[in-house]
């Protein structure tokens, strides 16, 4: 592909566009924002600014630390009671909206449709909320007898000085049930991202590796950073099962806390959402000797490629054969089914502004559909998600990042077990199969735009200037985009559809994109009289 659609139109100079857009801001703000734009030039090592504060007043997609911790990583664990400690809102807004699906296990425990909060009142803010939190944990335990309880601190909790860790420990002892406390107050960090890290840390410290029971045989994996939105994890597991690969635990889609406790028994970790879960992958490798593979199960070819990476890791001829057979069968079927969509979508343009990984993942799938990603960016990613993990050593730690604890991890004295001979591991690393993520930018061709933490006004201008055929974003942008007459696909919640992962998911996605892009309703934006000047009909008596 030589240059993107953006650069093929001589009337549009992307560099000029970036400049014009930033000029809308106050000068100092403009200077900051400029660094979040890249007009791709693959011949250069390009650097983008990411994971820094959003300038106050800018209308951003971003959320808070609590959202990243409770909302993204911890909330999906379905057989735990997750208590939000704070005023009612934070619990309320993170209740049932993310479509992280869960099927209860044999014990029937399922707290996913529930919302638990200490519903803090002014008295609690004035006199401290620890007492209420203690009582809330006890009430939750008495009513539900869950296997574990989590507590999530919200903004005021940190300020008034409630020691949620101490309360958790105390109640854990008193009730005999594990209580995990997360200090994920909303103001921490610059986006959801801090919350992911906090969640990773606590799960690693208190859950992973706490149950050594049972022998785990065969090609066992953990799915990390797969949240089972719209049932993605189930489609992945369907294919895995055909191949003979067994998922021990998922972080944290359809997750059971019992299974997470035994995650350290797996052979390899598969990392889907690099941004939200790479901490866990790293820590588990250090502590237990489990390497990780960056996978992307989104897209037909992406799925096939990821399966091959897994096979390559295990270096088992039978598995490789089985994987290849499954790929052949599933790809053929999927390709057949998307053919019609592809015909109708070929050459259409798309922009992606979403999350910390999906804006990259879905580019594979759009390629399968013949669509061109002309602009892409993340909401809360770090530089390594754009430029690859190679930049990590050089990341500067600013005040906002420093607030999020970096655990010191060492090899677990009893549980560390290298999964590969050192040379094999080195080879896999050299082949970029293991412990490797190259970031989004290498996949973005010349002349495309990369935009970090896109703002409302930037989105408006992008649409006006480039009028893409589709924009993938979240709920807050969706109807703004669509009022322009441009279809907008929510890639957080899949517009209440899914699964989109795996082979069948790709077909499903193709169907949904075809529906949105080619919906006849878009032809009705203008009434006939708005399209052509008023015609006096032959009937009119003059």
């Amino acid at each position: 592909m030589s240059g993107s659609r953006l650069t093929q139109n001589p009337a549009i100079d992307p560099e000029q566009f970036v400049k014009d857009v930033c000029d809308l801001y106050p000068t100092k703000v403009a200077k900051k924002r400029l660094k979040h734009f890249i007009v791709r030039d693959p011949s250069q090592e390009q650097e983008i600014e990411a994971n820094v504060r959003t300038v106050p007043g800018i209308i951003t997609q971003r959320g808070c630390c609590f959202a990243g911790c409770k909302g993204v990583v911890i909330g999906p664990i379905g057989d735990m009671v997750h208590i939000v400690h704070g005023p009612i809102g934070c619990a309320y807004y993170s209740w049932g909206i993310r479509r992280n699906m869960f099927k209860p296990r044999e014990d029937g425990h399922n707290f996913l449709p529930y919302c638990f909060s200490t519903d803090m009142q002014d008295q609690d803010v004035i006199f401290g909320g620890e007492k209420k939190l203690r009582l809330a944990i006890e009430e939750a335990y008495n009513i539900f007898k869950p296997k574990a309880i989590s507590v999530h601190a919200t903004c005021p909790v940190g300020l008034i000085g409630d020691d949620v860790q101490a309360v958790a420990k105390e109640m854990s002892g008193k009730l005999g049930v594990q209580v995990l406390a997360f200090n994920c107050e909303g103001y921490k960090g610059v986006s959801q991202s801090g919350g992911h890290h906090i969640a990773n840390n606590k799960l690693f410290e208190h859950i992973v590796g706490t149950d050594d029971s049972g022998e785990e045989q065969g090609f066992t994996v953990n799915l990390l950073g797969e949240y089972n939105i719209g049932g993605d994890a189930w489609e992945i597991e369907r294919v895995f099962e055909k191949c003979g690969i067994r998922v021990l635990s998922t972080f944290s889609g359809n997750a059971s806390v019992d299974e997470m406790r035994r995650a350290h028994l797996a052979q390899v970790n598969l990392v889907m959402c690099h941004r939200s879960i790479n901490y866990m992958a790293e820590m588990m490798e250090t502590a237990f000797g489990i390497p990780w593979i960056k996978v992307n199960f989104i897209g037909i070819r992406g799925m096939a490629k990821s399966l091959r990476k897994i096979a390559a890791f295990f270096e088992d001829p039978d598995l490789t054969k089985k994987v290849e057979a499954v790929i052949e069968e599933e790809v053929a079927e999927a390709e057949k089914e998307i053919a019609a969509f592809r015909t109708r979508l070929q050459g259409r343009t798309v922009m992606l502004f979403v999350g910390g990984s999906r804006a990259h993942h879905y580019q594979d799938l759009f390629k399968d559909l013949g669509m061109e990603t002309v602009v892409a960016g993340y909401e809360f990613a770090h530089k390594d998600d754009y430029e690859g993990r190679k930049v990590i050593p050089n990341l500067k730690v600013d005040a906002d990042s420093r607030n999020i604890e970096e655990l010191k991890v060492e090899a677990d004295p009893t549980r560390y077990r290298p999964r590969k001979e050192p040379e094999a591991l080195e080879r896999l690393k050299a082949e970029c199969i293991v412990d490797y993520y190259e970031g989004m930018m290498p996949d973005m061709p010349e002349g495309t735009l990369v935009i970090d933490d896109v703002s409302h006004v930037e989105l408006e201008k992008l649409i006006e200037k480039f009028r893409p055929d589709l924009i993938c974003s979240g709920i807050k942008d969706k109807y703004i985009i669509e009022k322009f007459g441009v279809p907008s696909k929510q890639l957080h919640n899949y517009d209440y559809s899914g699964p989109y992962a795996g082979f069948k998911g790709a077909v499903n996605f193709g169907k949904d994109v075809d529906m949105m892009v080619n919906n006849p309703a878009w032809k009705l934006l203008k009434a006939p009289w708005q399209k052509s000047p008023l015609l006096k009909a032959k009937l009119a008596v003059e």
């Binding site: 809308l24 801001y25 504060r53 005023p87 309320y92 707290f111 200490t118 939190l133 807050k476």
Partner: protein, 457 residues
Amino acid sequence: MLDMTPKEIVERQALRINPAKTCQPIGAMYAALGIHRCLPHSHGSQGCCSYHRSHLTRHYREPVVASTSSFTEGAAVFGGAPNLRQSLKTIFQVYDPDVVSVHTTCLSETIGDDIPSMIKKARDDGLIPENKWVIHANCPSYVGSHITGFSTMTRAMVDYFSDNGDKVKGRINVVPGFVEPPDMAEIKRVVTEMGVESIVFPDTSDVLNTAMTGDYRMYPNGGVTVRSLMRTGSSQATLALGAFASEAAAKLLETKCGVPFQLLDLPIGISATDRFVQAIMDITGAEPSSGMVDDRGRLLDIVTDMQHYLYNKKVALFGDPDQMVALTDFLASAGMKPLYVITGTPGKRFEERVRGILKDVVPGAVVKAAADLFYLHQLIKNEPVDLLIGNTYGKYIARAENIPFVRFGFPILDRVGHSYFPTLGYRGGMYLLSNIVNTLLERKDQDDPEERFELVM
């Protein structure tokens, strides 16, 4: 569904499960969207603004634009003044609203940020352009509910804008409360049809139910204008619809500008709408149009035509307090039996009012403020009902207990109609009641054995 919920009810003092309310700022944001060319601004962490925008967007399926002070740990420690200043600078340059409505959050309230001073300083420092306004509402999330936030922001409109002046006879203010855009439009339509001039505030019609035209407008046509808000101080009287959402603004308007007010129920159903119309008649001498009287009679006609399906049906309802009061009255007047009436918003006044309505009709009714859906579910497990009415969150209970379910109130995340069809007034009553009746009929069709499957109902 909800299999973890035990039938046995034990009192809880600390744990809220499945709330029937949310926090103040979203109400303030919603109210502020009812001002023309206003950009709501959330003074707190980014998450608040994101959650509130997302939630309102899901309910309205419309753009909901608001900005945030994007607090980080530094702001939490040292206060949010610099964030607000930077915000105002950015906002006025980039988004050019006429009004910025700042609402606080639990974070900035706990910190103790003094918004009026910050606004004053920003004004003094020239951060607020000429003919632009910044208003504010204090929204400690740990007090009241989203209704409180709505009420406070509505009150702020009076506080910041209402000018005392010679009273214009025949012009009234209507504070409609936390109702849907088509409800606000319906109130305007009805008052206009009576030949009465009115200022309805806030007014989210044509803001949160706009057209799909291919042309996006950040500030849609709707919303009460600042000019109109200023003129509220010289209206003849104010009708405050709903004690919880609307009384505070009306009261302040009386204190500040001497505009007398009447506190009325939300006009849901026949009697409450009668009282609304009567109040306008009393104040202005205007008469209801014949069309309105016809609509009244049509609504009653549905009640009498379909009484067989309504009479003595046990209903559980939950939602915001002003809505629950009027709805309870409406359902009881149509022969139904509201057995459980629940709101998440705290307020003894609510319980007293609803108990008063049900005193003779359903003496054993359970009426509870500051309650939650977990409790409501347990009540239903102990004595089932024929119908559940409430917001989308009720769907879990409806499925668990296999109860027909009418969506009413805020939020509705899984059906369409609430953005377009009012439930207030006589016409709104027709829509609401048709919905209730049809839901009951649908269920009857499902339940009837084949030999009793009815063609005519």
